[in-house]
């Protein structure tokens, strides 16, 4: 083969990936993002504050799901302790507020740094292990964080703490529900774009390679531990941001957000959206919260059908729900 033909060939292999994907998946994601933006605005215009808040909740939790997706979907790290980062982010708003520091420019960076630090310490230990060990250890560390905040009597202990005024952004008044929604939506969009850049970068290829075949990555010369830990820390920081938003949305902070059933729900949102697809977590979060909202309106026992659905989907759908959704995105 001649050198010229080779060079000509190379161009077609140098394409940058597309944010919105291709084919039907592309249309689906765009429609999804537009709907998530337009519907709450319509609700607000019609004077229905409830749906605006509900949408804000989807958006905030979606950020947490997006962060989990980075390590679970792309990195293959089954973290069962992500709710801890949400909680840490929330307390990073609540504790300074309790002492009179109300600036958002303190709260939000603090939330991300504190969550990143917790991710660094716990990740450094748990990433030395694999498989089931990793699942259980992340769970245990999250439980540790839960009990820790539960024991802090000064910050409400098991009663939780009320956030008397929301984080102060200066020019932005996020006490206004619409402003809060717009801010959260913008942050979600930013996180999605970040994850998109990350997973397609050199770093992202390495993390995905570790997911696919870690032993091979090592023999190729990658210090897989360092890359996976970095991804874990990025994910933790992003999830801390989600926690800071959640605290402001609910005006209330409680250690209950850190229980492991919350981590399980978060994980399910990611799977439901198709782990490893950039926009999947938004879809998963939306469907999950709608499902919860609708079912819980009919019965307080909504966990029952939900649990049945969970089991049936794992048992009868080839490759789990995840496989199904991933196939759907790709067609």
């Amino acid at each position: 083969m001649s050198a010229q033909k080779k060079a000509a060939n190379l161009d077609e292999y140098l394409k940058a990936p597309s944010l919105f994907g291709f084919g039907i998946g592309r249309i689906m994601t765009i429609v999804l993002m537009v709907l998530l933006f337009i519907l709450p605005l319509i609700a607000w215009y019609m004077g229905n504050k409830f749906y605006l808040d509900f949408s804000s909740r989807i958006v905030c939790l979606a950020i947490a799901a997006v962060s989990l997706n980075l390590i679970l979907g792309f990195g293959g790290m089954v973290s069962f302790g992500h709710a801890a980062f949400v909680g840490i982010g929330a307390y990073a708003v609540g504790i300074p507020s309790h002492h009179g520091y109300e600036s958002a420019w303190l709260h939000f960076p603090l939330a991300m740094i504190a969550a990143a630090f917790f991710a660094l310490v716990t990740g450094a230990i748990s990433l030395r292990t694999k498989g089931v060990y990793f699942i259980m250890i992340t769970m245990a560390f999250a439980q540790m964080a839960y009990y820790f905040f539960l024991s802090l009597e000064e910050y409400g202990g098991d009663d939780g703490m009320t956030l008397w005024s929301r984080s102060d952004f200066g020019f932005l008044n996020i006490t206004d529900k619409l402003t809060f929604f717009l801010l959260s939506y913008a942050l979600l969009a930013l996180c999605i774009y970040l994850v998109f850049r990350i997973v397609n970068s050199r770093f992202g290829m390495v993390v995905r390679g570790c997911n696919s075949n870690e032993a091979r990555m090592k023999s190729l010369g990658y210090n897989t531990y360092a890359y996976r830990l970095t991804a874990y820390v990025i994910s933790g920081a992003m999830c801390g941001l989600a926690g800071a938003l959640m605290a402001n949305l609910q005006d209330f902070i409680t250690a209950d957000t850190m229980t492991w059933t919350r981590s399980g729900e978060l994980m399910f949102m990611v799977i439901l959206g198709g782990a490893g697809s950039v926009f999947g977590p938004i879809f998963g979060t939306g469907v999950f919260l709608l499902f919860e909202e609708i079912l819980s309106a009919y019965t307080i026992y909504w966990h029952l059908p939900f649990g049945v659905l969970l089991i049936l989907s794992v048992l009868f759908i080839k490759g789990g729900v995840n496989g199904l959704i991933q196939r759907a995105w790709k067609t």
């Binding site: 250890i137 820790f148 539960l150 029952l304 794992v314």
Partner: protein, 306 residues
């Protein structure tokens, strides 16, 4: 102080044997079937509720336990046959999702059947008293019963696994599935049996604790994490590791909660010890887990390589 210390030591031992009963089933099921069962705590809860109902029905806690055991065994068996069995070939993520679903179902079903309130289980008179085990050391009879029955069960398990044909099969199954099949043993029956055994162990733990704490919804969801810590520290798949780690974690957790604050106060002003004490003692076992993992990622007693 020393009296209190001894009593707390016994309390720690009591928590330890309960943790062992839970961890034993977890580690059996994981070691042999490579299956992660988050819903193990649900069996613990079901044990407590079934026992509560049967206690009221028969009028005696002892009969309640006796009749509850086969029921939990059947529940465990059905659980394996209907759901778990179909997941052995799937990955751990699927295990986690499915058993998470089971927890949600179990919690809701218990709420539907027994109502949202906890149920207290009355003890017969001869169990609800106290005994003087050493001069000046008085300890509740029932807690002593928990400790002794837990240790008895542990000894029984040791005997079962070391000396019986079933134990031989379990050990062989853990190291070589095809070999067991080649011996002409129906491996799926073996697995179902092991799962039911694990369920009974967890159920018994629930029955034993219920008279002290009441049977409550979600009671398994907290202790299951502690049981995870136990098998992580002990080495997943190792029965010996589970026993030693369970006793260790039980004692450390109990002593930490009762004395850590006092110890901190010796070194520190009481004000900061007031906050740091509870915070630190609630984190103690996780910190121990972290240290063990940092030094020995496979736990204290990793089972032999399969």
């Amino acid at each position: 102080m020393s009296t209190l210390f001894l009593i707390q030591l016994l309390n720690g031992l009591q928590l330890g044997v309960l943790l062992f009963l839970l961890a034993a089933g977890l580690t059996l099921v994981f070691g042999i079937m490579d299956f992660v069962n988050l819903a193990h705590g649900s069996l613990y809860m079901l044990g407590a509720f079934v026992c509560a109902s049967l206690t009221f029905f028969t009028g005696s806690f002892v009969w309640g336990v006796v009749f509850a055991i086969p029921i939990i065994a059947i529940i465990g068996y059905l659980f394996e046959v209907l759901i778990v069995r179909h997941l052995y070939e799937s990955n751990h993520l699927d295990h986690v999702l499915a058993t998470f679903g089971i927890i949600l179902i179990a919690d809701t079903l218990v709420q539907l059947s027994w109502g949202p309130e906890g149920i207290a289980i009355p003890l017969p008179d001869y169990l609800s008293g106290q005994v003087e085990i050493l001069p000046d050391i008085i300890f509740p009879t029932f807690r002593l019963l928990i400790i002794s029955s837990g240790l008895l069960i542990a000894a029984g398990l040791y005997w079962l696994i070391t000396y019986t044909r079933l134990g031989m099969l379990i050990r062989a199954g853990a190291s070589n599935r095809t070999m067991v099949s080649a011996l002409g043993i129906d491996i799926s029956t073996l697995f179902a049996g092991v799962f039911a055994l694990g369920a009974v162990l967890a159920g018994v733990a629930g029955m034993l604790i219920a008279p002290i704490t009441e049977a409550t919804i979600g009671m398994g969801n907290d202790i299951i994490i502690t049981a995870f810590v136990v098998i992580i520290v002990g080495g997943i798949g190792s029965m010996k590791g589970a026993f030693i780690a369970a006793i260790l974690i039980g004692i450390i957790d109990t002593l930490g909660r009762s004395f850590l604050k006092d110890i901190l106060e010796i070194f520190n002003e009481s004000a900061s010890a007031e906050t740091a004490g509870p915070a630190l003692s609630s984190m103690l076992i996780y910190i121990i887990m972290a240290i063990v993992l940092a030094l020995r990622p496979q736990g204290l007693f990793p089972p032999k390589v399969r």
